[in-house]
Symmetry: C2
Subunit: 347 residues, 2 copies
């Protein structure tokens, strides 16, 4: 009996999602022959046809995979939030993807909006908690649409959840050259949750004496992310702060065109999801001109997660070479980029 090297669920999604995901898959096929792929048609089409976002039977099937390669979901025809909560966040929560990985690098050939920063100078990874905090949906509304209305949102944080993501971040910092980890929170105002994060960080730090550490408030970190992004190596933070900080990190490294992400269950008890940070870009969909770089870099994170670090490195380097070779402002063809990167990575 043939056992596949990996079972990958492909959720290409909406808009340019299908186009960029095809390239990501092409590149994985080139460096890791023998994986099995199953395609799932989720996103705006399914929702508009059936009113469903993630049918239980589909979720059960997804659970049988090693990883999910996701393109992008979202379309103006769907009310905002429905697909995000019903698919992206549901996968993060139900598949216990507690490590939301967001690397940011200023690649040669990309231009930072920041003056005087050169490629190579920014190289960080934000480890964002993915299953707790303000993302749990706790809260409610009373006396809706009256002058007496109140609305609450509750951030829920457990020692269990905070400790495991902090430990993961320390381990990642430990394996990098600079071995530096920054905790970002808002301990001076959010004293309850901030206290838990700060105390847990201190406790776990004792296990990693080689990692230097630092603490910053989210407002200060947001400022430094603009004035001095070079200072960051690994950053660990909560779900909402991570959402904000990684978008600033993407902005200073030239936008979301190169921003990859993984929603990771490190124990591989459940499949992890890998997707570009960019959206479905309905305005340019179907023209074959979307840049698949972020999707392919997400595939590299997938390879790394599944235990193929050499293949992951070859893919990242092939994307880097591709991007570095681009003439400023030159147009590109999605499929040709995929072909070139696949060829380089396989060589």
């Amino acid at each position: 009996m043939l056992v596949s090297v990996a079972r990958i669920a492909v959720v290409a999604g909406d808009g340019i999602g299908t186009e960029v995901t095809a390239q990501a898959r092409k590149v994985i096929e080139a460096v890791l022959p023998g994986a099995e792929y199953n395609e799932y048609d989720l996103g705006a089409r399914l929702y508009n046809r059936t009113g469903e976002v993630l049918p239980q039977a589909v979720k059960d099937e997804l659970a049988g995979h090693d990883a999910i390669l996701l393109g992008a979901i979202g379309d103006p025809s769907v009310p905002p939030g429905v697909l995000e909560r019903g698919l992206l966040l549901k996968l993060r929560f139900d598949f216990d993807q507690y490590v939301n990985l967001r690397p940011s690098r200023l690649w040669p050939g990309t231009v930072s909006p920041l003056a005087g920063i050169k490629p190579g100078e920014i190289d960080m990874v934000v480890v964002r908690e993915g299953t707790e905090g303000l993302y749990v949906g706790a809260g409610g509304v009373l006396h809706k649409d009256t002058p007496a209305e109140i609305a609450t949102e509750e951030s829920l944080n457990t020692r269990y959840g905070v400790e495991r993501v902090i430990r993961d971040a320390f381990a990642r910092a430990q394996s990098r050259e600079r071995r530096h980890l920054t905790l970002v929170h808002k301990t001076n105002v959010l004293t309850h949750a901030g206290g838990l994060w700060a105390r847990t960080f201190k406790a776990v730090a004792a296990e990693f004496p080689q990692v230097t550490t630092e603490y910053q408030h989210i407002d200060a970190a947001s400022m430094f992310m603009v004035s001095n992004p070079q200072r960051y190596d690994v950053v660990v933070t909560d779900n909402l702060f991570g959402d904000i900080l990684t978008d600033i990190a993407a902005a200073v490294t030239g936008g979301i065109g190169m921003a990859a992400s993984g929603s990771v269950n490190p124990e591989r008890q459940y499949p992890s999801t890998f997707e570009p940070v960019h959206g479905s870009a309905p305005d340019i969909a179907g023209q074959g001109i979307a840049d698949p770089a972020a999707a392919i870099l997400s595939a590299a994170l997938l390879l790394e997660h599944l235990g193929h670090p050499d293949e992951a490195r070859r893919v990242s380097e092939a994307v880097a070479a591709e991007v570095a070779s681009r003439a400023p402002g030159a147009s590109l063809r999605t499929a040709e980029v995929g072909d070139r990167v696949a060829a380089t990575a396989a060589a």
Copy 2:
């Protein structure tokens, strides 16, 4: 009997706070003779001497003023958060300073870290809610320092609180040239509070047909604040998002050196606080080299709030002229900057 034109409480605070506040006061004296000043020694010195941050008797006295001119508080000798919560946040809450005003401009003579942006191109004001949200301190910790620990933070939002700050932001947008207002929240995830903010925004918008409006998620806004800050005119958002967004805005307009703020009770039922965004900078304190620009711009916000728009404009323009005349990298003397700005503004 002589009635003073304004009763101003001066809380110079710690570190460079005393130095820059002296200049702010000097400039107010120059353009608005006849105000009455009372100095209050609050901050690290009082705390270290007495363990108190804001004695009730002092707060009662402060309440009798029209405005509070604040320098900066904070010193390494005081545990983090004590002075922030006990003084800054306490004033915002107890004096119902629900409009936290944070203008950001790229002034001639200042350099943005963003490439290709010219002075004058960024000119926005963020209206941050100041009395609700995650800043209320609601929440708690259970089973502290055990594996079972949980910590919560609750964001409390009322229609009353949200509506009044949104209306204030619309009125400010209405009085500006571009008449544009952006609501920033995270409605796709924080559905309870986000719904309240979005519905209230829509309702109040009907009263201001001349103001064009827009909605952005906080992560997207944080990115645009870097990639395209020129697009913003007035921004309204909640307490925590405003904290983060205004620091990014400060970063892209060259740092907190020019960032002024007002914690405003628009009805003037309580005194409003005006302070530079920068801290007490213990490392350069006492040398007479701190830049008082942000403190003086905060004084301009104070003048505007107390009904002296011409004086406010003259002060802002005098600061702008001072900053524009600076040779790049030249050193400055705090008191001389104050003298020059006072002379120009009074002329």
